[in-house]
């Protein structure tokens, strides 16, 4: 783990202005609140959270689809947020890509699949017609589709096949880092496994790194090296996969894991965490999770916990697990 990370994110913040009634004070929605993480070469960082926890916004900021309000994103040694952005982003553009959630609208219905896959090649330019078409066929084969189907339109494919096409498009320029924004959430379970396996195979073959965004821990478990759990815009826990699933430290992670359905007959499901995600416009004081947390104490209502390392790459943002209160296992 001595190698420098290919992606370094520090204190990333994104706020959106909220349009109120005229006369009301201007308010902002804090979608992403001081998020920081690294992604190493060849690894997959799983990013898990509920809808509205800021995980997709984070992913989009990494590829420049959304500009960050503050904080830094460093990709392959180039700062793309918080500094001279446009030029730097173009330098690394070919090395990073994005796989989208919805295969229904991630492909232009009026564009042939082959042209969609070749779009990154066409934009980058410098390839002969023949070389371009060869590359498209190669990519189709790589994602397990017939070489001949580049002439067809997206509506001729199933959801799983379209997701393969989306992956082929992402691979066109041989990127090093791919943000996968819930790539399997809109597929049925058997298809999910196929796409996850495809992503794993490609990672092995091509040495890719992924930021894999998902809303349930079960999917992330198969693909991730490390997992980060987001809540209300911030990362509450980050740990190597094995540690996180075996010994979750944050009460929110514990509740999420308890909510994963297990194929054990007769056993009642543990109650999931009560309440809803807090308002991001008017977040609770102190720890964002305290209104729902069964272990909350006075400090949680006043002071926001920081993400602190506890042991062996395991970090958690919870007052229960700070140096002073070590050993106060919530379990």
């Amino acid at each position: 783990m001595t190698e420098a990370p290919i992606v370094t994110v520090r204190d990333l913040v994104k706020t959106f202005p909220v349009r109120g009634r005229p006369g009301e004070p201007k308010r902002t929605l804090r979608a992403v609140d001081r998020v920081g993480f690294d992604v190493l070469r060849g690894e997959t960082l799983g990013l898990v959270g509920e809808s509205g926890s800021g995980k997709s916004t984070t992913g989009r900021m990494l590829v420049g689809l959304i500009s960050a309000t503050s904080g830094t994103v460093e990709l392959f040694g180039h700062h793309i947020a918080g500094g001279a952005e446009k030029g730097a982003l173009n330098k690394v553009r070919s090395r990073l890509q994005f796989v989208f959630q919805d295969p229904q609208n991630s492909l232009n219905p009026r564009m042939r699949v082959g042209d969609a896959i070749a779009e990154p090649l066409d934009v980058a330019g410098g390839l002969s017609r023949q070389a371009r078409n060869d590359r498209v066929q190669e990519l189709l084969e790589l994602v397990g589709l017939p070489r001949s189907c580049g002439d067809r339109f997206p509506h001729e494919f199933s959801g799983g096949q379209r997701q393969r096409i989306g992956i082929a498009r992402a691979l066109a320029l041989r990127p090093d880092f791919i943000v996968c924004d819930e790539p399997v959430s809109s597929l049925d379970v058997s298809m999910q496994a196929q796409i996850v396996n495809l992503l794993l195979d490609l990672q092995e073959q091509l040495g890719l790194s992924y930021l894999f965004i998902a809303h349930d821990l079960a999917v992330v478990r198969n693909i991730s090296t490390r997992v980060a759990v987001m809540y209300a815009g911030g990362i509450v826990e980050m740990a190597p996969k094995r540690d996180l699933y075996a010994a979750p430290k944050h009460p929110y992670t514990q509740a999420l894991l308890a909510a994963v359905p297990r194929p054990v007959p007769g056993r009642a499901r543990a109650p999931s965490v009560a309440g809803e995600l807090p308002s991001l416009i008017d977040p609770p004081k102190g720890c964002a999770f305290h209104p729902r947390c069964p272990f909350a104490f006075d400090r949680c209502r006043i002071e926001k916990p920081r993400l602190n390392p506890v042991e062996g790459g395991h970090a958690v943002a919870c007052h229960l697990h700070e140096a002073g209160g070590s050993g106060t296992s919530a379990l």
């Binding site: 990073l96 994005f98 609208n105 991630s106 002439d151």
Partner: protein, 295 residues
């Protein structure tokens, strides 16, 4: 890889079938077929018909004036003894031509305004307020104003009507653009570094084409009606060159004794407007899959 249900032995056949699906749907659409028939008959009549009758539409024979429809003059003659049939056929060239060019011009201008307003959000408010201002006047009033300012020529009518119908086209294109720009394939193009121009040309315009085509068939129909109205008010294409509108305008003074002068161009206008509307309805049904297709 069980999701690979694509039959590898007949992929071409499937692809081709899909490509012609829209055409086949159109061919099965009753009102589209009727509309197409009416419009083609009118276009053929206007551009081939005069050649068959072989009469000059402006040649006057006072001796023949106010002849009712008969074997010799199928649609009668007017106050100067000109053959109304010939004039209606020639008038079709001008009226249909005006309709076509109005649709074309307002289509081009409206698409540019609509895409720019929809894609570059900062400009949206300014452009669309201008469009709203234009839309606040009845289209015919805008056209009268511009037509009067430019003088009575066929080209000024085309410009006047095109300007009057730009806001409608722009709104349709803007609405489509607003939907399309939120699609993930636009984001995918951005991640790949595609320029705004590429996104507009490759992704937005092809997906606007359906609603735009439908809108333009209606603009075509409105333009033919508006040309008639303008001619009736005396600011249409100037006589003696016939258009459907100015034949009616000239026949107005003799409506009681020679009803046929106004009747036949009136029928032509109604048919053209009806045909284009049916055509547009059919296109809308086929191009917009959300609407159910009546057979």
């Amino acid at each position: 890889m069980t999701d690979l249900a694509l039959g590898s032995n007949r992929p071409l056949e499937l692809a081709e079938r899909r490509r012609f699906l829209a055409l086949r749907k159109l061919a099965a659409h009753r009102s589209f077929k009727i509309g197409l028939l009416i419009v083609s008959v009118l276009v053929l009549a206007a551009f081939i018909g005069p050649w068959l009758t072989g009469i000059d539409p402006t040649s006057m024979r006072i001796r023949n004036k106010f002849k009712p429809p008969s074997d010799q003059f199928l649609m009668g003659t007017d106050n100067y003894g000109r053959d109304v049939l010939t004039r209606v056929l020639y008038g079709g060239q001008l009226s249909l031509g005006i309709g076509f060019f109005v649709a074309l011009l307002s289509g081009i201008a409206g698409t540019i305004v609509g895409v720019v307003a929809g894609h570059f959000r900062a400009l949206d408010a300014y452009l669309m307020r201008v469009m709203d201002a234009l839309l606040a006047f009845p289209a015919i009033l805008v056209a009268i104003g511009i037509g009067a300012a430019l003088g009575p020529q066929a080209t000024s009518i085309v410009v006047a009507l095109a300007v009057a119908y730009v806001p409608r086209t722009a709104r349709v294109v803007r609405a489509s653009t607003l939907v399309i720009r939120e699609m993930e394939y636009i984001e995918a193009a951005r991640v790949s570094g595609a320029s705004n121009l590429r996104i507009i040309v490759k992704h937005i315009l092809p997906n606007c084409l359906g609603p735009l085509t439908v809108q333009l068939t209606f603009v075509f129909a409105y333009a033919i009606l508006a040309e008639a109205a303008l001619s009736f008010l005396g600011i249409g294409p100037p006589p003696p060159a016939p258009s459907w509108g100015n034949i009616i305008a000239e026949g107005r003074d003799h409506a009681v004794e020679a009803w046929w002068i106004m009747l036949f161009p009136g029928i032509a206008i109604s048919l053209a407007a009806l045909g284009m509307n049916l055509l547009g309805d059919g296109l809308r049904d086929v191009l917009d899959p959300r609407l159910k297709i009546e057979s």
